[in-house]
Symmetry: C2
Subunit: 527 residues, 2 copies
C-alpha cells in the first residue's frame, strides 16, 4: 500500500504541509495518493543520517556490499506485479517494456555485486620503498579508490526503474561505499516509494546502517537544489533535461562553500551518418532508423535526432521511404504532460527555423498525451549557421541534414555539439573513405555505433553512456556500466602505512586476488 | 640568448606592444629582458594551431609519443647551466634545489614515456558480442581512454621546472595525446622561454606537428582567462593560489558555451597529527617538523601549516623545542615580491585572530624578499569556531592547535577543510587508539603520511597529489605521478566496430601486450 511519505533512512516521515500527486497519462488524471513534500528539516535530517551512516557503511567489506545489492534486487522482484502496475499507471510505459527495465535494473545491481567481488575496480597501486635510493630514499606508497560520502541522486522521468530510485546512479554509488539520498521524480512517486521500501527492506535484512538510503519528495528547484547545496552532499548523479541539469551543475559550483562534482546526463540528439553506398544497397535502413526514432515514443537519451546524408538519388529514395515508414508508426503515449507539451513546442520551434522542410508531421495528440512522429529536413548550410537546430526535441522527431558533398558533411559534423552517441550506417568499404568524418564524430561522442542503432544501452563493462558537453557535465565518466562506480570515489595514497593498518586491497598479501599495479607492472601476485 | 617572444607553435611571435619583465629576488631588481605580452590574436592563433596539431598528434603511436617526451627531457638537459642560472636569478631558489628539480622534471617526462610503452593506462575494456543472447543479442563493445584536445597549462611560481613549462601538467597532457598551451608564469619568463625552446627543439627532431606546444606571455586575469574561455581549449591544468585557481575554475564553468574540467591544485595547510606517546618518546620530532616547515622558505603546497596535539607535559616540551629550533632557522629568500608581501600579511592576519598566541615571530625581512619563520598556537575551541584560521599562509608558518583531549581533537579534525596531505606522527600502538581520528583525516586528504613529513612528493605510480576542495577543484585526480595522465582523457566506446578500424589497443590480437578487461576479467591474452 502506498503511504505517501518520505523515507528518512528507515523512518517514514511526512512532516510537511504540502503534497504532490502523480499524474497518470493512462487515465489522464491525477492519481489519488497524496505524497508529502519533504520539509527543509526532513532534507537536512536525511543528509545527517546519510553522513552518520557513511562512517559505518564505508567500512563494510566488498562481499557485504555485494550481498546488500543482490538483496535490493531480490526485494525489488518481491514487489511483484504491484510495482509493474503502478509504474504503468504513472508513466504510460507498456508492461513488457517495464518488465524488461526491471530486469535491467536488477541486472545492474548484480553487475555491481560482481564488480565488487572481482574487486580490481579499486585500482590498487603499490610502489615499494627504496630505502637505498640516492640522493633520497623512496617511501612505501600505496593508493586505491575510496568512497566519498553521501550522494544525491535524481530520479529520471523516462526510466522509472533503471535511472531512478534503485537505478544505475544509486547502484554504483552504493557499490562504491557511499550512502544515497534519492530525490524522487514527480512523475512516478508511487513507483519511487515501492522501490525505496524494497531498498530499505534490504537495508534491514543485511544489517546496513540506518541512513544508507533515503528518499525525499519535492520539486527539483526547491527540494532538489536544497540537497545539492547541502555541504553534507559530496556528489550528484542526474539524468534529465539540459535546464534542470545545468541548474544543478551551477548550484554545485557556485552556491556551495565547497563545490562538488555533478554527473549530469542531459541533452543529446545522437547524429546518424548515412553513407551513400549503404543507402544504395540496403533497403532496410529506413525501417531500422524509423524504429529507433519512434521506439518508446522517442523518449530515450539516445534517440537519433539528426540524420546526415549526402544528396543523391539513393538519399532521396531513403528520405521518401523514411517519411512513409515513420508516418505509418502509431503515436505513442508520453511520460507526463510536461514532456508532451515540450515535445509539440519543440516541433513548432524547429518548423520555424530557416530552411527547415517538414517531411512528415503527425497530428497533434497532446490532448491525449501522445506523441506522433515528426520528420524534417534542412540543408547542411542552414544547419551549420543555426545552432538552435541542435536543441534536443525529446520525442519521436528527427532532422535530416542534407549535404552537397563530403566536404560539406565534414563541415556540418564539425559544428556538432557533444553527444552521447554517433551512429555510422555504412558499407565496409566506405569506412575508409569517410575516415575523417568518423574521426570528427568520435571526438564529439561517448559511443560510436557501427551499423546499428543508438537506442538500447547495454549494461556491461565496456559501455560508455556519457560524452562531451552538453551530453553530460563530465565527459570523463559513464552513467551506465561497471565504470559508473568510478564517479563516486577518489584516490587516497597511504605513505609508509604499517602493514596491519592498510586496507585489505593494499596489504602485501593479495588475499582479495585483485589485479594491482606494483612498481608499474600489473599483477595478481602478493608482495 | 633570451629573446622575449611568445612561441606560437614553432613560430617566434611578439606582435604585442606591452611587455613584462621578470623580477629577481636575488638582485632585488627587474631583469633587463623585455617579454612581449601575447595579443588576443596571438592567443587565438596558438589555440588554432593546437587544434589543428591535435588531429595529427593524437594519431601518433605510444612509442612515438614516448620518444618525443624523452627528447624533451634530453633537450632540457642540453640547455645546461644556462637554464639553472636563469632559474636561480628569477626564483631565488638555490642551485642544488634547481638541479634536483630539473632531474625530477626530466624523470617525470621519462615516467610518462614508460607509462606509454607499458600501455595499459588506456584502460582497454572489451565485452564480446553475444549474438545468441535472449531476449536481445549483445553487441561487441570496446572502450578505451582517448585524448581530448588542446590543454591550457598554467606555470606555477614555486616549481619553475616541475610544475611549469615542461612540468607534470604538460608532460601528462602530451603523454595522453593532447596538445598544450602554457601560460608562462610572470616570475620566471626567461626560464619559461628556455624550456619552451627545448620542447620545440624536440618537436622538430621528432617530427611532431607544429602547434603541439605553444607558450604565451601575459597576466593571468587577461591572457590566462582568455585561454580558459577559448572554446578550443578542452581542459586546464593549474597549480597556484586559491584566488587564481577559483577565478579559472569559475570562468571555465560560467563563462564558456561549453564548460570544461579544471584541475586546479590550490590551497592546503597539511595538518600534522602529533600523538602523545610519540612526543613523549621521540625527541627528534621538533627538528623533523621544523625542517619541513622551513624547507624552501615554506613555499611548498605540502608545507605543514597545522599541528594538532593534545595538551600535556610532552606537548609543552615539544612546543617549546619547536619554537627554539624554528627560531634558529635562517630566513629564506622568497620567489617573488608578491608572495613575500602576502606572507607577511598572512602572518598579521593570523596574529590578530581570537586566541592566537605567537610562539615565535622572525623579524620582517620583506624588504629583502626573505621569509622568517612564524609559529603560533591556538586552542582547539578557538580553532573550531574560526574557519579563517584555515586560510593558507604560503611560507614558513605553522599553527599549533592544542586540544584538551581526544574528543576535542576529533571535533577539531572534523572542521578541517580538504587538504593535499595529512601526517600522523605516532608510536605504532597509538594508531589503534586514534583510529577514528586517522579515519576522519583520511576522508579529508589525498595522501596520509605515517611518521614522515608531507614535503617531498614522490613522482611514481601510487602518488596522489590532490585532495578534496579547496586543496583541488577535482578530488578524483592527481597532478603528480603516472595517473596524472587520466585527467586529460575520456573514455570512448566503439560498438560493433570492424576489426580493421579498431585502435591497436582494442584489436583482438593484443599486440601492445597491455592489460585489458575482457568480459569482466583482467588479462593480457589475445581474443
Amino acid at each position: 500500500m502506498i503511504k505517501g511519505h518520505n523515507l528518512i533512512g528507515l523512518t517514514e516521515s511526512n512532516e510537511g504541509k504540502e503534497f504532490l500527486q502523480s499524474f497518470s497519462p493512462v487515465t489522464q488524471s491525477k492519481l489519488p495518493e497524496q505524497f508529502a513534500v519533504a520539509t527543509s528539516e526532513e532534507v537536512n535530517k536525511a543528509v545527517d543520517k546519510a553522513s552518520a551512516a557513511f562512517v559505518v557503511y564505508k567500512g563494510k567489506t566488498a562481499e557485504e556490499r555485494a550481498v546488500f545489492l543482490e538483496t535490493v534486487a531480490e526485494e525489488i522482484m518481491a514487489l511483484g506485479d504491484e510495482l509493474i502496475q503502478r509504474a504503468m499507471l504513472e508513466t504510460g510505459l507498456p508492461e513488457a517494456r517495464l518488465m524488461g527495465e526491471r530486469g535491467r535494473t536488477t541486472g545492474q545491481l548484480k553487475l555491481f555485486a560482481d564488480v565488487l567481488r572481482e574487486g580490481s575496480w579499486v585500482e590498487a597501486v603499490i610502489d615499494t620503498a627504496l630505502p637505498e635510493r640516492k640522493p633520497l630514499p623512496r617511501s612505501d606508497l600505496r593508493k586505491m579508490l575510496m568512497p566519498i560520502g553521501p550522494i544525491a541522486v535524481f530520479g529520471a522521468s523516462n526510466f522509472p526503474f533503471a535511472f531512478s530510485t534503485a537505478g544505475g546512479d544509486t547502484a554504483s554509488a552504493l557499490a562504491g561505499g557511499n550512502t544515497v539520498i534519492v530525490k524522487a521524480h514527480d512523475s512516478h512517486l508511487g513507483t519511487n516509494e515501492l522501490v525505496a521500501t524494497a531498498i530499505n527492506n534490504a537495508v534491514k535484512k543485511c544489517n546496513m546502517p540506518d541512513g544508507v538510503f533515503s528518499t525525499v519528495i519535492g520539486e527539483g528547484p526547491v527540494t532538489g537544489i536544497q540537497l545539492v547545496k547541502h555541504e553534507g552532499i559530496k556528489a550528484v548523479g542526474f539524468t534529465g533535461s539540459y535546464n534542470a541539469g545545468m541548474a544543478i551543475f551551477r548550484a554545485a559550483v557556485n552556491d556551495r562553500k565547497t563545490p562538488i562534482p555533478v554527473f549530469a546526463e542531459m541533452s543529446s540528439i545522437n547524429p546518424v551518418l548515412l553513407l551513400p553506398e549503404k543507402l544504395r544497397q540496403d533497403e532496410n535502413v529506413a525501417a531500422q532508423v524509423s524504429a529507433s526514432i519512434t521506439l518508446g515514443a522517442g523518449q530515450f537519451c539516445t534517440n537519433p535526432g539528426l540524420l546526415f546524408l549526402i544528396e543523391d538519388e539513393a538519399a532521396d529514395k531513403f528520405t521518401k521511404k523514411l517519411a512513409e515508414v515513420i508516418g505509418a508508426s502509431p503515436a505513442g503515449i508520453m511520460l507526463n504532460p510536461n514532456i508532451c507539451r515540450s515535445y509539440y513546442k519543440g516541433r513548432e520551434v524547429i518548423a520555424k527555423q530557416k530552411g527547415v522542410n517538414i517531411l512528415f508531421e503527425g497530428e497533434d495528440a497532446c490532448a491525449n498525451y501522445k506523441a506522433s512522429a515528426f520528420l524534417t529536413r534542412v540543408s547542411a548550410a542552414d544547419f551549420i549557421s543555426n545552432p538552435d537546430l541542435q536543441n534536443e526535441v525529446f520525442g519521436p522527431s528527427s532532422l535530416i541534414v542534407a549535404c552537397k558533398d563530403k566536404h560539406e558533411l565534414l563541415q556540418a559534423l564539425q559544428c556538432l555539439h557533444g553527444q552521447l552517441t554517433a551512429t555510422i550506417l555504412a558499407n565496409p568499404n566506405e569506412l575508409n573513405d569517410f575516415a575523417d568524418c568518423i574521426d570528427m564524430l568520435s571526438g564529439k561522442v561517448g559511443r560510436v555505433v557501427y551499423n546499428g542503432v543508438p537506442t538500447g544501452v547495454e549494461v556491461s563493462h565496456a559501455m560508455v553512456h556519457g560524452g562531451p558537453f552538453p551530453a553530460t557535465t563530465n565527459a570523463n565518466s559513464t552513467s551506465v556500466g561497471a565504470d559508473a562506480i568510478k564517479r563516486f570515489v577518489r584516490p587516497l595514497c597511504l605513505q609508509d602505512c604499517p602493514e596491519q593498518f592498510l586496507p585489505e586491497a593494499l596489504k602485501n598479501s593479495n588475499r582479495l586476488n585483485i589485479m594491482r599495479k606494483i612498481n608499474g607492472q600489473y599483477t595478481k601476485e602478493s608482495l
